[in-house]
């Protein structure tokens, strides 16, 4: 930096708004500049229109001192993105044969994100040459959180190098030691192409119980298992280097690792339409304003008529100053009472992991229009869900504050993604007749089991641990349930449809209900508190055990 002082890094992205045309989303990170020092800043940016360049500006003391335009290479815009942490920028050539939309990215450890949300566009992370000592605590936590919330991770074990200790809670295997494979016929049988002749340097694994294992020459060389909502594999073989780098079977190996992305349970853009946005009209303020205006004009008339002098005019001026204060106070109060933030938080418990993914969608209704500022929960990434005008996202520590000029005739819709520590669970017994639920500190209202397009209402469930009979009758079609605009089920309706969305395609049953526990939320900057009446919190808990029994046959 050329000088010291308060500085800002501003990243501007262009977006298209349906009503107002082209708009700009500016992400601002303030920092204290130190003269002569190179400072690295991380700026989380959601790119709305990849065809337009990003404009980066450096502000120092309110003055722009440097700027650049960053154009995105269309070839690097991925349908599916695989990130390989490796010292060698090679080995992912087979990806194009797996999925022609797949794009590889070779990075070093310091490029890994500090926020788990920054992995959102990543389909697979492969750790090959990772020195854990080069990762910060935030980078370790974000990788672990991402995996537990649905990320897919492959760790390639290198001879002589231990697996990263911070990943131990999610790794499906640990290392036994170096193995030299003379032949690996099992790999050929498993992945559809004979493996090259030996010797093949490998690391023998010791799989965890329940992990899926692939052996080569009788030695476990691949182990994979679920970790929360994600999936982690440890490979004792390295398909990025010879002799396996030329093996045709690596295509299927990578295809298995990449898998098919799971659908999002809810569609953020559809959630906004289900919020039931309300904008109260403050009639009291209108009446009070009318009274104050009449008092002001009438009082002024009386004073000026009784004292038609310069002194009388001075009294009038004093009355005007007083009236400015009174009417401004009234106006600010009326605006605050009329501005409403309606929101829903969809909390998805990661199975068998102490964390939940939270998607928040909020609609700010500002009946008088004009500038509005909304603060996202700490640690959440936030962005407008629908464009209506220019937006400025200002980061301070781990909190984003969004401000925009809001139109009076349409709500300003925002979304945020975050994670919260949470450990709730649900499990069917072996007969699939009794559901044991552990809800922790808060109960679940209007709970129901959702499974393959069917819904079994359970009523209200208490906080803590409880068991509930779930007989085979009483199931309803999800298509009937989601049409009820007063129940939380409406949030699972597909966009522009009356049918249930991705929730009907989940592979396992889930327990769903309105949760009364604390959930992160947007707040209006001028109020700094959440209106519980304008907030829905929906909790989804994956159900373990056998699938439920449905009278009349399984779906």
């Amino acid at each position: 930096m050329p000088a010291a002082g308060p500085a800002e890094l501003v990243v501007e992205t262009a977006a298209l708004a349906p009503v107002t045309g082209r708009v700009t989303v500016s992400t601002v990170v303030p920092f204290q500049a130190v003269a002569g020092v190179v400072q690295r800043l991380r700026v989380p940016v959601v790119i709305q229109d990849v065809r337009r360049p990003l404009r980066v500006r450096l502000m120092l003391g309110g003055r722009s001192i440097a700027g650049a335009e960053v154009l995105l290479d269309p070839a690097r815009i991925a349908g599916r993105l695989v990130v390989l942490v490796s010292d060698v920028r090679a080995g992912l050539g087979a990806l194009r044969r797996v999925d022609e939309r797949a794009v590889d990215a070779y990075v070093t450890a310091d490029a890994l994100p500090s926020l788990w949300q920054e992995y959102t566009g990543v389909d697979l992370v492969v750790l090959r040459d990772l020195d854990p000592a080069r990762l910060s605590d935030a980078q370790r936590t974000s990788l672990l959180t991402w995996v537990r919330l649905g990320g897919r991770l492959v760790v390639i074990a290198r001879p002589g190098a231990p697996l990263p200790a911070f990943l131990m809670p999610v790794l499906p295997a640990h290392l036994r030691g170096l193995a030299v494979l003379a032949a690996a016929p099992e790999l050929g049988a498993r992945f559809g192409s004979p493996a090259p002749g030996g010797p093949i340097a490998a690391v023998a694994l010791v799989p965890q119980p329940g992990a899926a294992v692939v052996r080569a020459g009788g030695v476990p060389v691949i182990a994979g298992d679920r970790a929360g909502d994600g999936y982690v594999s440890v490979w004792g073989i390295d398909p990025t280097v010879p002799p396996l780098a030329e093996w045709n079977g690596r295509t299927r190996l990578w295809a298995n690792a990449l898998s098919v992305p799971a659908p999002a349970v809810v569609d953020a853009s559809a959630l906004a339409g289900r919020l039931g946005v309300r904008g109260p009209v403050d009639r009291f303020s209108h009446a009070a304003a009318g009274l104050l205006i009449a008092l002001y004009v009438g009082g002024l008339a009386i004073v000026r008529r009784r004292r038609p002098t310069v002194a009388g005019a001075a009294v009038g001026a004093a009355a005007a100053v007083f009236a400015v204060v009174a009417l401004t106070t009234l106006a600010v109060g009326a605006r605050a009472r009329s501005t409403v933030l309606t929101q829903v938080a969809i909390v998805e418990q990661a199975p068998e992991a102490p964390v939940a993914r939270v998607l928040i969608v909020a609609a700010a209704t500002v009946p008088y229009g004009g500038p509005a500022e909304v603060v996202a929960p700490s640690g959440a990434t936030a962005a407008p869900a629908a464009m209506t005008g220019d937006v400025r996202i200002r980061w301070r520590d781990a909190t984003a504050a969004l401000d925009s000029v809001v139109r009076p005739d349409m709500p300003w819709v925002l979304q945020a993604l975050t994670a919260v520590p949470l450990r709730t669970s649900a499990r069917f017994d072996d007969a699939a007749q009794t559901l044991t639920v552990d809800l922790g500190i808060a109960g679940l209202r209007d709970a129901a089991v959702w499974w393959h397009g069917l819904v079994r209402p359970l009523g209200d469930l208490p906080a803590g641990r409880s068991a509930h009979r779930v007989p085979g009758d009483g199931w309803r079609r999800a298509a009937d349930v989601v049409t009820d605009d007063r129940s939380a089920a409406r949030f699972f309706r597909a966009a522009d449809s009356q049918e249930p969305g991705a929730i009907a395609q989940l592979s396992r049953p889930v327990l769903v209900g309105e949760w009364s526990g604390p959930a992160p939320a947007f707040v209006l900057a001028e109020r700094r508190r959440v209106d519980p009446a304008a907030q829905d919190v929906v909790l989804l808990i994956p159900i373990d055990g056998p699938p439920p029994v449905v009278r009349g046959g399984q779906p």
Partner: protein, 233 residues
């Protein structure tokens, strides 16, 4: 404050029933507009609509203040007990003193009326969170426009003896400023007070517009002074 013409005009205007009626009319119009503009407009609005109700209120304020200030200065509205510049020359006061006093009286009237209207503008701006800096800029523009038109009225009052011709010229020039300037090409068109107020509110108005009206007002002052000298024996 040492100017006797200024002191005399202030006393006359403070005591005038006509000025009192103008103030009531002005506050009544602004009050009704501010109150009727309070309920939010929840219906769909066209995307190109940029002006807020506060801007509309400021424009109405500018039109009323500018008209009445210049009408009083040109004696189209004769304020009770207020002496015309020509009468004051025979009082006898120096033309410089007369023009300075009348100019200050106009400025004080403009400022006072802006202050009286401020609570109603504050109500409209506060409920829509219109930026205060924009309101101040627009207020300054209204003051500058109204004062310069007042000085034009002063000159017309001195230069044109016929009441009808003076009124005609006054209305013609006001129409030229408020309507005729709309025909100018951009960016000169922003000298139109209506467009200027919107631009001032958004912080986009050039300082040259303020300066232009100030220079115009001072030129009218000079014209009035030179014309008054004709009456000095």
């Amino acid at each position: 404050m040492n100017n006797p013409v200024f002191r005399g005009d202030l006393r006359a205007r403070a005591a005038s029933r006509k000025i009192f009626a103008i103030e009531l009319f002005y506050l009544g119009v602004l009050g009704v507009l501010a109150w009727l503009g309070m309920p939010p407009e929840l219906g769909a609005q066209p995307a190109e609509r940029a002006a807020s109700l506060t801007t509309a209120l400021l424009v109405v304020q500018a039109i009323i203040i500018t008209y009445f200030v210049s009408a009083c200065a040109s004696q189209e509205i004769a304020v009770e007990t207020e002496k015309s510049p020509v009468d004051l020359v025979f009082a006898p006061f120096a033309p410089r003193s007369i023009v300075a006093g009348k100019s200050l009286a106009t400025l004080a009237t403009v400022g006072y009326w802006l202050l009286l209207g401020a609570p109603l503008v504050a109500l409209s701006a506060g409920i829509r969170r219109d930026p205060a800096a924009g309101l101040v800029s627009a207020g300054v523009l209204i003051a500058v426009v109204a004062w310069s038109m007042g000085q034009l009225g002063l000159w017309l009052g001195v230069a044109i003896e016929s009441e009808f011709s003076r009124t005609l010229a006054h209305w013609g020039l006001l129409t030229l400023v408020f309507v005729g300037t709309l025909a100018l090409p951009l960016p000169v068109r922003t000298i139109n007070p209506v467009l200027g107020i919107a631009a001032a509110q958004s912080g986009a108005l050039s300082a040259a517009v303020y300066a232009g009206y100030l220079v115009f007002g001072m030129a009218c002052d000079a014209g009035a002074r030179m014309t008054l000298r004709r009456y000095v024996v």
